[in-house]
């Protein structure tokens, strides 16, 4: 059975759908940011229509904010004016803005069974909460803002059966890096990646958000987790009702099954320049690092900051290395302040950035020079992703990032404590 197809079938109002069908569905939430919204708004303007529902459009200024330069300031102004003119309810700017995929769940905007489409490839994050969510480009977003509907080719699904329990310093990032390493960066192209198995109950919701966030790095249309006690508790503290959880089989089953025993998993590192270039941390080359980034829509949540600090607390970052810590949202920032995490990171010698996508995409707030190497908890290590095309990005979990910031080279946290 495929939960993704069940959601699509329900929303399409059809008795049955099969993989390969083209269907039109109403969408519950439409998202865009300061990079994708300007192009979407221009295309939307050609339609000469109003927005389909001002409560169901979310605009977040998070990529080049606080404004990097005049050009990004102009783009943000353009989106701001559109949001004001159209009375968009969920417009996040200035002190309300955070990294969109950290922000939306916290704001209580995501609930199980929804269809969410975002002008951002990492919109797939919300599958962790039982939503069907996926990324699209600006023209699709323009059409959605006008009509509230979009088309899908009904996907085949791959079942990832998770068993076991993470060891210390191993988490969601390691699971998803391992999986991408196993199936490749196009191993799930057009598929839904659906996570089930006894091990799911051992994975916290924030780690599930990390896992679902990166399914697009294997080419997947979406990722999906079952809604269980942990999901319901997580949503409930955000004031979100999980609703009726209808899990029922459809007749088409899975196109493939991948079994993962996470008990044996070690911290993983993706070497330049593909997220599938994955090896265990102990096999990683001991390259000299210039920068370590802890943050992003993948690993910018409070549990990520806590995990990193547990490794690094009371010590000092390696001489000549820049550690940049980015709380993913105002709420994460405030929580980190209240828990003394920010103070501790300052003591360690970290730079604390405002919530922004910034360095992850080589935008600002931590861009690399030619020849520099960064280890990062972000999601992509493509050529030039964080700056100069002769710079390199290695990907890892927050604990490995913290341990490596202390030694100046890629390091297993188990070596530190």
């Amino acid at each position: 059975m495929s939960g993704s197809r069940v959601i699509l079938r329900e929303k399409a109002g059809r008795k049955s759908i099969k993989p390969g069908d083209f269907i039109e569905v109403p969408v519950d939430l439409v998202l865009a940011n300061d990079v994708t919204a300007p192009l979407a708004i221009e295309e939307f303007g050609k339609l000469n229509m109003g927005v389909f529902n001002k409560e169901k459009i979310v605009l977040v200024l998070d990529h080049f904010t606080p404004n990097r330069d005049v050009a990004s300031a102009e783009q943000c102004l353009f989106v701001r004016e559109f949001a004001n003119e159209n009375e968009i309810s969920h417009f996040y700017d200035g002190g309300n803005a955070g990294i969109e995929h950290v922000l939306l769940p916290e704001e209580g905007l995501i609930s199980p069974g929804m269809i969410v489409v975002g002008g951002d490839s990492h919109t797939c994050t919300y599958g962790a909460l039982g939503a069907f969510s996926t990324g699209m480009g600006s023209t699709d977003i323009a059409a959605l803002m006008a009509t509230g509907k979009t088309w899908f080719r009904v996907p085949e699904a791959i079942n990832v059966v998770v068993n076991g329990k993470f060891r210390k310093w191993v988490g969601g990032k390691d699971l998803i890096l391992y999986l991408i390493g196993k199936i490749g960066v196009d191993g799930a192209t057009y598929y839904s990646l659906e996570f089930t198995g006894n091990g799911i109950e051992n994975i916290d919701v924030e780690a599930r958000l990390t896992i679902a966030n990166m399914v697009v790095e294997a080419g997947a249309k979406n990722g999906l987790f079952p809604v269980d006690k942990k999901t319901i508790a997580y949503l409930s503290q955000l004031g979100v009702d999980s609703g009726e959880i209808a899990v029922e089989a459809d007749e088409y089953g899975y196109s493939g099954v991948i079994e993962l025993d996470i008990s044996n998993l070690t911290p993983m590192v993706a070497l330049p320049s593909l997220p599938s270039n994955v090896i265990s941390v102990e096999e990683a080359p001991r390259v000299k690092l210039d920068q370590v980034v802890i943050g992003s829509c993948t690993n910018g949540r409070i549990s990520d900051l806590r995990e990193a600090l547990e490794v690094i607390s009371g010590m000092r970052v390696s001489k000549g290395l820049r550690l940049i810590v980015i709380p993913g949202s105002p709420r994460v920032y405030r929580q980190a302040l209240n828990e003394g995490i920010i103070e501790n990171f300052l003591e360690v010698g970290a730079v604390i950035s405002p919530p922004t996508c910034g360095p992850c995409l080589g935008g600002h707030m931590g861009v690399l020079a030619a020849g520099e190497k960064a280890l990062s908890t972000t999601n992509r290590n493509f050529v030039g992703r964080m700056g100069h095309i002769e710079s390199e990005v290695y990907l890892c979990n927050p604990a490995v990032a913290a341990a490596s910031a202390l030694t100046g080279t890629i390091t297993d946290p188990a070596e530190i404590i």
């Binding site: 083209f22 990079v35 994708t36 300007p38 192009l39 221009e42 295309e43 050609k46 339609l47 229509m49 990529h63 080049f64 330069d69 050009a71 990004s72 102009e74 783009q75 975002g118 002008g119 951002d120 490839s121 919109t123 990324g135 699209m136 480009g137 600006s138 023209t139 699709d140 323009a142 059409a143 006008a146 009509t147 088309w151 080719r153 960066v185 196009d186 192209t189 057009y190 080419g219 249309k221 593909l274 995409l361 080589g362 935008g363 992509r380 493509f382 050529v383 030039g384 992703r385 095309i389």
Partner: protein, 165 residues
């Protein structure tokens, strides 16, 4: 289907050409395709980048357009004057974006395997053929599903919606 015949010189690229190398994020502060086209493939090495001229046809391996959802990638390709992209396979968001902005794309692993750098190609989008003039061989383009043909025939998604109004 578009009644267009595209002719041009094949310029090859490898697998997994992602949208970050097609148009680095630092340039995503414009929506003008001519401006974006100036930075086409700037994330790739200088040799690969400098070989492209207006009218050329990109012939790439698998997973072309992977990564970020930025539609600017499809626009940068158009802005650089590239007339068509042939690839063994496309990443899904890029595929939608190309259809939506009217960038001709064809998926054909067999054609990609046989086309050499610098070959002269003629692509007939209405008949559905990729002709390698240099190699004197032709390949059928697998037809688009009817649903997508509706969007392509209208000249993109926005035009289709305008027609339906």
């Amino acid at each position: 289907m578009e009644n267009t015949v595209v002719e041009g010189v094949a310029k090859r690229l490898g697998d997994h050409v992602n949208t970050d190398v097609i148009i680095p994020a630092t340039y995503l502060v414009s929506t003008d395709y001519c401006e974006l086209g100036k930075h086409f493939l700037e994330g790739l090495d200088e040799t690969s980048r400098s070989k492209f001229k207006p009218g050329d046809i990109v012939v790439a391996g698998k997973n072309f357009g992977s990564g970020s959802s930025r539609e600017h990638a499809a626009l940068a390709i158009k802005g650089a004057g590239i007339s068509c992209v042939i690839a063994s396979s496309f990443a899904r968001i890029f595929f939608r974006n190309a259809i939506n902005v009217g960038l001709p794309i064809c998926e054909s692993p067999v054609a990609v395997k046989s086309i050499m750098e610098g070959d002269s190609l003629r692509i007939d989008l209405s008949r559905g053929t990729i002709e390698n003039i240099t190699g004197n061989v032709s390949f059928p383009i697998p037809p688009y599903p009817d649903f997508l043909l509706g969007i392509i025939d209208a000249g993109g998604l926005i035009n289709l919606l305008l027609e339906q109004k």
